[in-house]
């Protein structure tokens, strides 16, 4: 094992460690689950953990690698979730469930990707915080529109409305309600499993890490580091911004599909797809060390587990969570504490993943 690692160059070694970490975690949890040690509470968290990890990896491509702040990523997840659940609902039992789920995931990614591309065109005419607020705006618009979307199907085909179920003009007796406004899509089969979640996470990592360490990835990072210099050596800035944003949206769409097929009823609530959720993904990326896919996954898992582990002290848990978040940020990022760590060589233990990740991602 060590031998294989030492033969690789540093970037492939780093990627290898990231894949290994995910596969290792999967193996350990599967064994625990087989032995019946894992509590059902944690068992129920496995798919969401995969979803959040995928979202963290996806957003890291935009924030850490492209260097643009996006606070609307939950919107792409929302699109992926609704597109995939809609497909599943339409097909019904007309297809083997596994094949249907795979196609649903692809459709989730495709729809999110198309919107990512279309939204990216206006968004990237802006800079910095203005760009961030527009991504937030798009995320909220997506959530809002999904919340007021009614789609039904009867003998005459599909019917749509943005105001109410009655406005669709659907045959109310024989028609089937597919998307019911604020109630969303109900009765989606729960096809998502931990194994599928891990596989999509690995696929997302494969796409993003390979992209980062390629001609395209270098172009994306050059835009982040200095867009004027990038242009001066012939990099098409808009193209690579759009590429990163679209790939990121596709992967967020996958995560959405996974998420939707883990719930029997899917509604575009603020708690699930609002800006708060987008911000949570951003927290994963920043705490994971901006630019590091591995760090983002670790942060996603740790930050999702903390509130769960704090459940025994239910009423204080979210308060404690917020304090932990603030303290972690200050310890991690303030110049004073960084100097302190440097001096006492503490960073070796605390920031190991972050330091190595810096190489891997950047």
């Amino acid at each position: 094992m060590k031998k294989i690692l030492s033969q690789m160059d540093q970037t492939s070694r780093n990627d290898f460690i990231t894949y290994g970490m995910v596969i290792g975690a999967f193996a350990v949890i599967s064994i625990l689950q087989a032995l019946g040690i894992l509590s059902s509470q944690i068992g129920g968290l496995l798919v969401p953990l995969c979803v959040y990890s995928i979202m963290a990896v996806s957003l890291n491509l935009v924030v850490g690698i492209l260097g643009e702040l996006s606070i609307g990523h939950a919107g792409f997840m929302c699109l992926g979730a609704f597109a995939s659940a809609f497909f599943t609902k339409c097909v019904g039992d007309g297809m083997p469930s596994m094949l249907r789920f795979v196609i649903a995931i692809l459709i989730g990614g495709l729809i999110a990707g198309v919107f990512g591309f279309l939204i990216g065109i206006p968004v990237f005419r802006l800079n910095g915080d203005y760009l961030a607020i527009v991504t937030l705006a798009f995320g909220e618009i997506i959530k809002n529109v999904m919340n007021s979307l009614y789609v039904g199907r009867d003998a005459n085909g599909f019917h749509f409305s943005l105001s109410s179920a009655n406005d669709m003009g659907m045959d109310a007796l024989n028609g089937e309600m597919l998307i019911n406004g604020p109630q969303g899509i109900t009765g989606t089969p729960r096809n998502s499993t931990f194994l599928i979640g891990i596989l999509i996470l690995l696929l997302s990592l494969f796409v993003i890490l390979n992209l980062i360490h390629s001609r395209q990835g270098r172009a994306i990072m050059s835009v982040r580091d200095n867009h004027i210099a990038a242009e001066s050596v012939g990099i098409n800035i808009t193209k690579y911004k759009l590429m990163a944003f679209t790939v990121s949206a596709v992967i967020a769409g996958f995560a959405g599909a996974l998420y939707a097929h883990n719930l029997s009823s899917l509604a575009a609530t603020s708690a699930r797809f609002g800006y708060n959720m987008s911000i949570m993904f951003l927290v994963f990326v920043v705490l994971g060390g901006i630019g590091s896919s591995r760090g983002a996954i670790i942060a996603a898992v740790v930050l999702t587990l903390i509130p769960e582990l704090l459940r025994p002290i239910a009423s204080f848990r979210m308060l404690l969570y917020s304090i932990i978040l603030i303290v972690m940020m200050i310890v991690n990022w303030s110049p004073a504490s960084r100097a302190f760590m440097e001096k006492h060589k503490l960073n070796r233990f605390l920031f190991k993943f972050k330091k190595s990740a810096g190489k891997g991602g950047k």
């Binding site: 390979n210 270098r218 172009a219 004027i228 050596v233 012939g234």
Partner: protein, 253 residues
């Protein structure tokens, strides 16, 4: 025919003629200097040449082709590459990757091949690495190029890395904006040798802005002197530097 031909180039910023009726003709293989006091408009000329600014008047021709007002990417593709007065490296990327970004349009590989790691990916990476190390070795930057971040290089070497990155785009004309700024005399001497070397062995045409008179008189064969956005004089280096007007512009009256 001259490689670079500039006619009557002018640009104004809010009523101020930053560059006024600028003319320049550079032959293939020239090592040309653009000098003048601070604020004379030298960097503005570079920005006009590389498409950062669009001129109000005038024509820029590269090898007979009109490139006036084109975008920076197009101008780079047409064959002009530059460095910046205030160094603009890709700071969080390795020294090697900085040069590989410069090779972006030289060796291609579609995104799908990159993501799926098809043979085309490995081929491109191999070619890029070979070429990048070749360029880096000219500047003595090839050691640990893969593991050193550009921002961790000392100042003088950052300037060299910028030149290497610009050269990676295979330009016909290389624009160097104060390449020796911040270098000590030894480094400057070394840089002069390197500039000579790249002109001779890569057949590069070079236009540079510089304040260091030792460097200018040491390597530039021809000079143009700018003062208040206008050409004061141009011609062979010796004659230009002996011109009393030039001395007056530099030292004041």
């Amino acid at each position: 025919m001259a490689l670079l031909e500039i006619n009557n180039l002018s640009i104004s910023f809010g009523g101020l003629r930053a560059v006024d009726e600028f003319n320049l003709s550079i032959e293939q293989g020239d090592l040309y200097g653009l000098i003048g006091p601070n604020g004379a408009g030298k960097t503005t000329v570079f920005n006009l040449l590389t498409g950062v600014y669009k001129p109000n008047e005038g024509i820029i021709r590269l090898d007979g082709r009109d490139i006036t007002g084109k975008k920076p990417i197009e101008i780079n593709k047409a064959g002009i590459a530059r460095t910046f007065q205030n160094i603009r490296l890709f700071k969080q990327m390795s020294v090697l990757d900085n040069v590989k970004v410069g090779l972006h349009n030289i060796y291609r590989c579609p995104p799908a091949a990159s993501i799926l790691r098809l043979p085309a990916y490995y081929e491109t990476e191999k070619k890029m690495n070979e070429r990048a190390y070749e360029l880096l070795s000219v500047f003595g930057l090839d050691k640990e190029a893969d593991s050193t971040l550009a921002s961790n290089l000392p100042y003088g070497r950052q300037r060299k890395l910028e030149i290497a990155r610009a050269m990676a785009t295979n330009p016909r004309l290389l624009l160097l904006d104060e390449p020796a700024a911040g270098m000590n005399p030894n480094e400057t001497q070394e840089l002069m040798d390197t500039i000579h070397y790249i002109r001779d062995s890569f057949g590069m045409t070079i236009l540079l802005i510089e304040h260091d008179m030792k460097l200018v008189s040491g390597i530039c064969e021809k000079l143009t002197v700018l003062n208040f956005g206008r050409i004061l004089t141009q011609g062979e280096t010796k004659k230009v530097l002996a011109n009393p007007e030039v001395i007056k512009a530099y030292l004041g009256e």
